[in-house]
């Protein structure tokens, strides 16, 4: 409760928005008025009391698909971002702490990974590997972690030369203590900021992959493929594609509102790193 009270007004709104999305994802079968793949009306029906957001190109209820889509989008983008952060941060810190050839090896390998265009790399890998959700998450996580690696290594190199790290070394602390107890707490601010951004990118990347037919497979719903499926309607003035797009935007903004507020707390005078 104390944590929530300390959040700014904007962050509270962000948190509420986030919770609404999260709850609808969890309780999708209870909340959703229709079945996920159930065809309940004509294609592209306008907004009505029966269909709150109208229907999609096949006549499935948009609200229902939006709620079910939240599950996929949330879970896949969230898991991919979390994994990419755990991996990228750890390897980045490890490289900064070990220095020398280990650092060179990891960093140059990372450069090599980054030199492939992300989308093309993902397309090649996903078309070779069996198409399931776990592969999708891992591929997204690995590709994303290259960016996280660069950031966390740069941050850690700065912290690593501080005297309190030297003091820990002189005490005889192990590398893992230095990474998790001395460096990590001081690197949280830039990492949190990056997390908010990368989550948004993950949602968009998933949407792109789905759009190209390599992400979530139809008839399952996710916000990105919903945009794709309904995009043709825009030409006829039908807003069906805009509704999942708005959902993506709202979720991104909510996450960033919360992250910004946490960021401000961690950079405040209390324990700020000057």
């Amino acid at each position: 409760m104390k944590f929530i009270k300390s959040l700014s007004f904007g962050a509270k709104i962000g948190l509420i928005g986030f919770l609404v999305f999260a709850l609808s994802a969890v309780f999708a079968p209870i909340i959703a008025p229709y079945g996920e793949t159930e065809i309940v009306g004509e294609g592209w029906e306008p907004v009505s009391a029966q269909f709150l957001f109208g229907t999609d190109q096949l006549g499935r209820d948009l609200l229902t698909r939006l709620i079910y889509g939240a599950r996929n989008t949330f879970f896949i983008a969230g898991a991919a971002t979390v994994i990419s952060f755990c991996m990228g941060t750890f390897l980045g810190f490890f490289a900064a702490v070990m220095k020398g050839w280990i650092d060179q090896l990891l960093s140059r390998f990372n450069d090599m990974m980054m030199s492939f265009p992300t989308l093309i790399f993902a397309l090649v890998v996903l078309s070779v590997l069996p198409a399931n959700i776990i592969t999708l998450i891992l591929v997204m996580a690995v590709l994303d972690s290259t960016r996280v690696y660069r950031l966390s290594r740069a941050v850690a190199v700065d912290i690593e030369v501080m005297e309190f790290v030297e003091a820990a070394r002189l005490r005889g602390e192990k590398q893992m203590w230095v990474i998790f107890r001395e460096i990590l707490p001081n690197a949280l601010s830039p990492l949190f900021a990056e997390f908010g951004l990368r989550f948004a990118f993950a949602v968009l990347f998933l949407a792109t992959l789905s759009f190209l037919g390599l992400g979530i497979q139809p008839p399952e719903a996710d916000w990105g493929s919903m945009v794709k499926e309904n995009k043709d309607g825009i030409v006829f003035g039908i807003p069906a594609a805009l509704i999942p797009a708005a959902a993506i935007a709202t979720l991104t903004i909510c996450v960033n509102l919360v992250v910004d507020s946490i960021l401000q707390r961690t950079t405040s005078l209390k324990g700020g790193r000057g």
Binding site: S6, S8, M162, E163, F164, E166, A167, R169, L170, R171, G172, E173, R181, E182, P185, N186, Q264, R265, T267, S268, L269, K270, G271, G272, R273, G274
Partner: protein, 547 residues
């Protein structure tokens, strides 16, 4: 103004600042509470006080300038018959650099590294259209010569990185003098310099302002320095004036208690312990060391230190004294030579040392700010060595930490606080407690008091001595401050350019006959008496004439 001699008249100056803590409402505080003083043409007023006393803020207010969110909230500043506080942006720009100039503490950070010194020195004079380029350049060369810079005609062609710190500080003084201002604000111009350099810069500044008839505000925390250069002194504390009088009166007859404590600072003196026959705690034999770029920084250095005693390593920056500490801690393995610690040979590299060896050799750093993890509480910081070396956890650990806090004269309430909430002196105390928590036999103190105000530093030194008496720990004390050395050491090692110049018990090292370098070093330490600077310089001139 009636009095034509009056240059600067500050009346009831009030300065405030806005503090903004993220997540909280910004609030205003007052830094300076109504200070008044006057300065006549050609005179020098010294502003003295500890950090946070508002001396820099007051100095800058004479240019109607406030740093960051600092704002002048009340009072009047009359400069040469003009009230400059009400001036518009354009009006005040005509005053700055033309009538008032500023010399900052860190000349190295104040010069643009991409431009030649000469162009930067004459910039203000050109900007204000005071003289043509060739005139300004000629005057700058004249100033370089007056300030004793080498090869004055070509000095302006150099870049900032090509000259030393002391020369850079003098170049900055030339920059201030170049537009022939009425007033120069010197903000700790010699604080970052070595004592042997400081004395030259002081003499140069004194000559130059005397010859050009410029008035000056001289801001410093070192009373001995200000006594050499000023006509009057104003003592400040917490944004209020404590005492204001002539140099003679402040130094020889201070009225206020605070001024008295400033004058009598460093009155501690440790009785020198005798040379012991027993095995020394630390024995370094013929150490040579170099950094990876193969420049040798230590040449054949040997020294030893006994239990319960203090060995002070003195020297200027670049003398290799901190490198010595890095070698002993194992951060920089020596090339040749051996280190014996409690009779055992110490492995060269940190990785090869046992936990026990690491425990009994602790280190305290100069900057307590960066030596503590800002995300850990004081309890965690002090508690970690206890847990790490002795495996003590939980309630027992808390108890031991609190005992240590009491030893360093802090109370239990500090346990859950973060380093950022502590003052400079308190932070350094916590670092001492962290070192003590390991129950070491030797503590390396790397310039532990250099970043602190004199009175606070005094407290730290007293604490260190008290703890030495209680625990019998030996200190290797690295410093450039001779006064500190006099106060606390048993034996002294003087270092210069990576070589050991002089080593022995305090009474021997500080007594004549001196070698040339030790003589220079000892005679360069400012003393709190009038005319000290002149005497030393006269003495040196006579000596060099005699040679």
């Amino acid at each position: 103004m009636a009095d034509n001699n009056l240059l600067l008249d500050v009346r009831d100056l009030k300065i405030g600042a806005t503090i903004q803590v993220p997540g909280e409402k910004p609030y205003d505080i007052e830094i300076v509470h109504g200070v008044s003083f006057t300065l006549e043409k050609g005179k020098v007023l010294g502003l003295i006080g500890e950090s946070g006393a508002g001396k820099s803020t007051i100095g800058l207010s004479s240019m109607a300038y406030g740093r960051g969110s600092v704002e002048i909230t009340g009072g009047e500043v009359w400069l040469d018959g003009e009230q400059i506080l009400g001036h518009s942006h354009d009006q005040i720009r005509k005053v700055r650099g033309r009538k008032v100039a500023y010399v900052s503490q860190s000349a190295a950070a104040s010069f643009n590294p991409a431009h030649r010194l000469g162009d930067q020195v004459i910039e203000a004079a050109m900007e204000h259209g005071l003289s043509s380029r060739s005139e300004a350049k000629a005057f700058a060369d004249h100033l370089f010569a007056k300030l004793g810079l080498p090869d004055p005609d070509n000095f302006g062609r150099r870049y900032p990185h090509q000259v030393s710190g002391g020369q850079l500080q003098r170049a900055m003084t030339a920059m201030a003098l170049c537009s022939k201002p009425d007033l120069i604000v010197f903000d700790e111009p010699t604080t970052a310099l070595d004592v042997t350099t400081q004395i030259d810069v002081l003499a140069a500044i004194k000559d130059a302002i005397h010859d050009t008839g410029t008035a000056a505000l001289y801001i410093t925390h070192d009373l001995a320095v200000v006594a050499q250069i000023s006509d009057d002194i104003m003592v400040l504390r917490n944004g209020e004036m404590v005492e204001y009088g002539s140099v003679d009166q402040i130094i020889n007859n201070p009225q206020e208690d605070y001024t008295k404590s400033l004058v009598s600072v460093r009155s501690i003196l440790k009785e020198e312990g005798g040379e012991l026959d027993a095995e020394p705690v630390l024995n370094c034999r013929n150490i040579t060391a170099s950094y990876s770029n193969s420049i040798r920084v230590l040449h054949d250095v040997s020294m030893h230190l006994h239990k319960g005693q203090t060995l002070a390593i003195v020297g200027e920056s670049g003398s290799g004294k901190s490198t010595m500490a890095r070698v002993i801690t194992g951060l920089l393995p020596q090339e040749t030579g051996d280190i014996y610690f409690k009779g055992q040979q110490l492995p060269r590299e940190l990785k090869q040392r046992s936990k026990e060896e690491l425990r009994s050799l602790q280190m305290i750093y100069q900057m307590a700010d960066t030596a503590m993890n800002p995300r850990q509480t004081i309890g965690q910081i002090i508690g970690r060595p206890i847990e790490f070396y002795f495996g003590v956890t939980g309630r027992e650990k808390r108890k031991q930490v609190i005992e240590l806090l009491k030893k360093i004269e802090l109370d239990e309430n500090f346990y859950d606080r973060y380093p950022a909430e502590l003052s400079g002196g308190q932070k350094q105390r916590v670092c001492i407690a962290r070192a003590l928590a390991a129950k070491p036999d030797l503590i390396i103190c790397d310039e532990v008091t250099s970043a602190l105000d004199p009175l606070v530093a005094d407290g730290i030194l007293k604490l260190l001595l008290k703890l030495q008496k209680e625990t019998g720990v030996a200190y290797l004390f690295i410093t450039h401050d001779i006064a500190t050395v006099r106060a606390i050491s048993d034996s002294i090692a003087v270092m210069y350019m990576g070589k050991l110049v002089r080593f022995g018990p305090k009474s021997q090292v500080l007594e004549p006959p001196f070698d040339d370098y030790t003589d220079l070093l000892l005679s360069s330490v400012p003393e709190m008496e009038l005319g000290w600077l002149e005497n030393v310089l006269k003495h040196r001139k006579m000596e060099s004439a005699g040679h």
